[in-house]
Assembly symmetry: C2
Homo-oligomer: 124 residues x 2
Amino acid sequence: MRDPSNPVCRTISTLLARIGDKWTVLVVQTLGAGPKRFNELRREIPSVSQRMLTLTLRNLERDGLVSRTVTPSIPPRVDYELTELGQSLQKPICGLATWAMDNVEAIHGAQTRFDAERDDSIAA
Amino acid sequence: MRDPSNPVCRTISTLLARIGDKWTVLVVQTLGAGPKRFNELRREIPSVSQRMLTLTLRNLERDGLVSRTVTPSIPPRVDYELTELGQSLQKPICGLATWAMDNVEAIHGAQTRFDAERDDSIAA
DNA sequence: CAGGATCCTGTAAGATACTG
DNA sequence: CAGTATCTTACAGGATCCTG
């Protein structure tokens, strides 16, 4: 079941890698509010580079989580929108986010204690 | 709420990055079965390098998800174990894994269709 | 046994410039 | 507007050797 050669496990770890990458969750959450155009997304996620936004969207599209609709006008218009699959992913992500929020303090505390001990052993 | 300067959001994205890294989830799942020694973990996760296992465990320890117990015998013995916090993380992770398993086929299908179209446009 | 230190490599990802 | 192409850098992560 945890065998890396198991294709299901490979899909899961690929998914986790995608979730873990720097922009995927941010984009999914932003699109959660409704369809958005390319530059709308850029504006709402100011820190993302154009390149990274493009790549992230391509990956999400490839995985069937986001749909891409081109309107061949001038200027061109491209709308991105969560698919049903993409929307269904929001629930487990939200579970993780909730866990994180519930435990921010515990984690921070642990980190502070850990770093303090490390400093002690350096000082000593 | 999605403001990157918000410390809660930073914690969340740090968590997501940790979840997304190559080994964290594997280690947490492996430790889910009970405490393990360093080389037990290595054996159960054959693909992990010594270095990466050490680093992953340090990070988990720093975040308070894993406890590290040294028994100063010869040879030395070090046991790693999920803390309560670490165990509580298993639930949301499991939510994600379940989602992935439920949707493996949909995702694979989407990828296949996407790649097929890409090949078409190259061929054309 | 558990892990620190070092070296080396591939890839992620930012900045910049150009195009239909 | 919505990208693609190219260059460059930073860091993740593997291999290897060494130590208490």
